[in-house]
């Protein structure tokens, strides 16, 4: 039938299959009357699902700002692209600043990609808001003057869940096994988890580092069973959490599964009856306050589904940026950095207002532990979580759950 060597064919086939998709370059023309803002989130890979929510959130914020007359009468030109991986993320960030004329950058979920964008920001002296990356190191030893951090750091997630677990008597004297994502975020989370375990009389009897492309967890689950822990703890990210939870339910182990990281978009993808345990979150669409409810309603009406926590964080970040540019009447990096370093308070649709801590640029805000709702109490398929009390408890200092200066070695060069 064919004269071609089948081996050649197959090699070419494998090359094609392995080829990754690279986003198309932006073709926006330069216009001084518009404010160009660069936005990067992963739309492919294990964080792609939550990244797509992030993109919906930022689009909605930009449309709202533009519809109400823009910032200082100028319309926002939002350049939103797939960050793909750390190398592509930094290349695109560089291009957005140099060629496309972005005045600032924001976005990203992967801690590894966020780190490379932070370096681009510092080199070019442009402000970057890292919206969804949670590694402590980004606002710790890797911090820089031009980078701000909106999501809660790993230490806060561990504290949020840890407090809830302690109340249930699931920590003291218990044996833990952890399953950890093998990249900067996971390593960082594991470090925070270990600190928590040793401070609270728990022992870590097994720890598995798991590459981010693993989709079948059965060999790891067999190892978990061999270790016979009291509690299994998931320190994975993105859709790996979904896969693990589904397969954990499949094997039906008696050890409770908890986790120090989960995004609600990944929880929604798990399917009926698979999720249990206690987990942390930074925001959830059932939060009971007027601003949050109005946002959820507008988003649901526009997109036909409730916003995920990354949609929320991109939305509030662009709103904070717009407010900063309006009040400083400037898009200059130094003016913006100074504005945020004044610890200006922002309404981020939570009970307490939030602010960027001046010395490490962390957005200090409430967090929440949650558990899973029984099926018969769910209003719809998105209504699957029960939020616990906000941490820190009302009356306590917001900063009490964040790493202190001694725990967070951030040293910003002037």
């Amino acid at each position: 039938m064919t004269r071609y060597s089948r081996r050649t064919l197959l090699k070419a086939g494998a090359a094609f299959a392995g080829a990754s998709v690279i986003g198309s370059p932006s073709t926006l023309s330069a216009q001084a009357t518009r404010i160009k803002i660069g936005h990067l989130v992963p739309l492919t890979g294990f964080l792609g699902a939550i990244g797509s929510y992030a993109q919906l959130g930022v689009k909605m914020a930009a449309e709202e700002i533009n519809a109400s007359g823009g910032i200082m009468g100028k319309q926002i030109d939002l350049m939103s692209e797939d960050s793909v991986n750390p190398a592509t993320a930094s290349t695109k960030a560089q291009r957005m600043i140099e060629q496309d004329g972005a005045v600032l950058l924001f976005g990203e979920i992967s801690s590894a990609s966020s780190l490379t964008i932070m370096q681009v920001a510092e080199r070019n002296k442009k402000v970057f808001f890292s919206t969804g990356a949670r590694s402590d190191a980004l606002r710790g030893k890797d911090c820089n003057r031009y980078s701000f951090h909106c999501d809660i750091p790993n230490t806060v997630m561990v504290n949020a869940v840890g407090t809830a677990l302690k109340q249930k008597g699931m920590v003291k004297g218990k044996k833990f096994v952890t399953l950890t994502a093998d990249y900067i975020f996971g390593h960082d989370l594991l470090k925070a988890a270990k600190a928590f375990f040793s401070a609270n009389d728990a022992t870590l009897i097994g720890d598995e580092l798991i590459a981010t492309d693993v989709t079948d967890f059965s060999p790891y689950l067999l190892k978990v069973r061999q270790a016979k822990p009291d509690v299994v703890c998931c320190n994975l990210a993105g859709n790996q959490v979904t896969n693990l939870v589904k397969q954990y339910a499949e094997f039906g182990f008696p050890y409770p599964l908890v986790g120090f990281n989960l995004n609600t978009g990944d929880a929604w993808a798990m399917g009926e009856g698979n999720l249990s345990g206690t987990w942390p979150t930074v925001w959830y669409h059932t939060l009971d306050n007027p601003a949050s409810k109005a946002f959820v309603e507008a988003f649901s009406k526009k997109y036909g589904k409730p916003p995920e926590n990354h949609a929320w964080i991109e939305y509030i970040t662009l709103k904070m940026i717009a407010q900063a540019i309006t009040e400083t009447k400037s898009t200059e990096s130094d003016a913006l950095v100074a504005y945020f370093e004044k610890q200006t308070q922002f309404d981020i649709m939570k009970a307490r207002k939030a602010y960027f801590r001046s010395w490490d640029h962390q957005l200090v805000q409430e967090a929440y532990p949650f558990t899973v709702k029984p099926k018969n109490e769910m209003k719809d398929k998105w209504d699957m979580l029960v939020l616990g009390e906000a941490v820190p408890a009302a009356g306590a200092e917001l900063e009490s759950i964040y790493p202190t200066k001694t725990q967070n070695p951030c040293n910003m060069k002037a």
């Binding site: 039938m1 089948r6 094997f251």
Partner: protein
């Protein structure tokens, strides 16, 4: 204790390999008969998963795993009749490009139809949990998958080796010119093989939907592993693909046991080693004509 545990990892690896087999065998068959490297194979796998999740909502899981592969196999007829058929004698680069394009179009169509966020699917209550054999533990659901794979494997083998259909297909693989000279048109057979191949991929998708994430790019993820299996096994060899799939599953399980960080890389290392020793794959020498 340690040995028993290792044995359990081996058995678990065999089950996983059986699952790879469903996808790789169809890919290998279509390649052997038509000379087409079907890069859209993963797209049919993804469609199988999505359609089964939809059917499960209305008719339950049992019907879904039967109806979804049938629906996708019917799509396979259209795929063969209107696309693949034009490329049997053309430059293979063209069929690579066209199936690659089809994979991307399908992925995008899934994104438009079902949305970019993953959709949720769960194992029926009755199939959850583990069964024990002494200290050995097996996921009940994976045992079911293993049984289905075994049944499909036997069925395909019987079809290829014990029926006149199979004789023509095998002759077509070895000597297409001779078959043509005998006055047999290979095209209807090719349609049937494509149906069978993509149907098996869809069956894999339907069975894996409840235990893995169902998202638009799932097809692109699986096709890499399927290629590795086909390359290790040797082109056109039925048993080569079977052995390779099981081997890939077992090697991965054992690697994760001893060196977790190397788990995903292990199958590529395996491919490298096999090709170093046997450039045609494990059982690839039987089709020397094409080398």
């Amino acid at each position: 204790m340690q040995f028993g545990f290792l044995l359990q990892q081996v058995v678990n690896g065999l089950v996983l390999g059986g699952y790879y087999l469903l996808i790789a065998l169809g890919l290998s068959l279509i390649f052997s008969v038509g000379g087409i490297v079907n890069l859209a194979h993963g797209a049919f796998y993804a469609l199988g998963a999505y359609i089964s999740v939809e059917i499960t909502k209305y008719l339950g899981f049992g019907s879904a795993v039967v109806l979804s592969p049938i629906a996708v196999a019917l799509l396979g007829i259209l795929f063969e009749r209107f696309i693949l058929r034009r490329f049997y004698d053309a430059d293979p680069i063209l069929s690579l490009l066209v199936t690659f394009a089809l994979a991307m179009v399908t992925e995008q169509a899934i994104r438009i139809t079902w949305g970019a966020p993953p959709i949720s699917a769960a194992i029926p209550q009755g199939l959850r949990g583990s069964v024990f054999l002494g200290d050995f533990l097996f996921s009940r659901y994976r045992l079911l998958i293993l049984a289905v794979v075994a049944a499909v494997l036997i069925g395909v083998w019987l079809l290829l080796h014990k029926t006149s259909f199979g004789r023509v297909v095998r002759a077509g693989i070895q000597r297409p010119d001779m078959v043509a000279a005998l006055g047999i048109r290979l095209q209807p057979y090719m349609t049937a093989i494509v149906m069978l191949g993509v149907g098996m991929a869809a069956l894999g998708g339907a069975f894996f939907a409840p235990i893995t994430i169902v998202h638009p790019a799932m097809g692109a993820e699986i096709i890499t592993v399927a290629f590795v299996v086909v390359v290790i096994g040797g082109l056109g060899s039925f048993w080569g693909v079977v052995i390779a799939a099981l081997l890939v599953g077992v090697v991965r399980g054992i690697t994760i046991h001893f060196a977790p960080a190397a788990g995903e890389a292990s199958i590529y290392v395996l491919m490298f080693l096999v090709l170093l020793v046997r450039p045609r794959g494990l059982l690839g020498e039987r089709i020397e004509k094409f080398e």
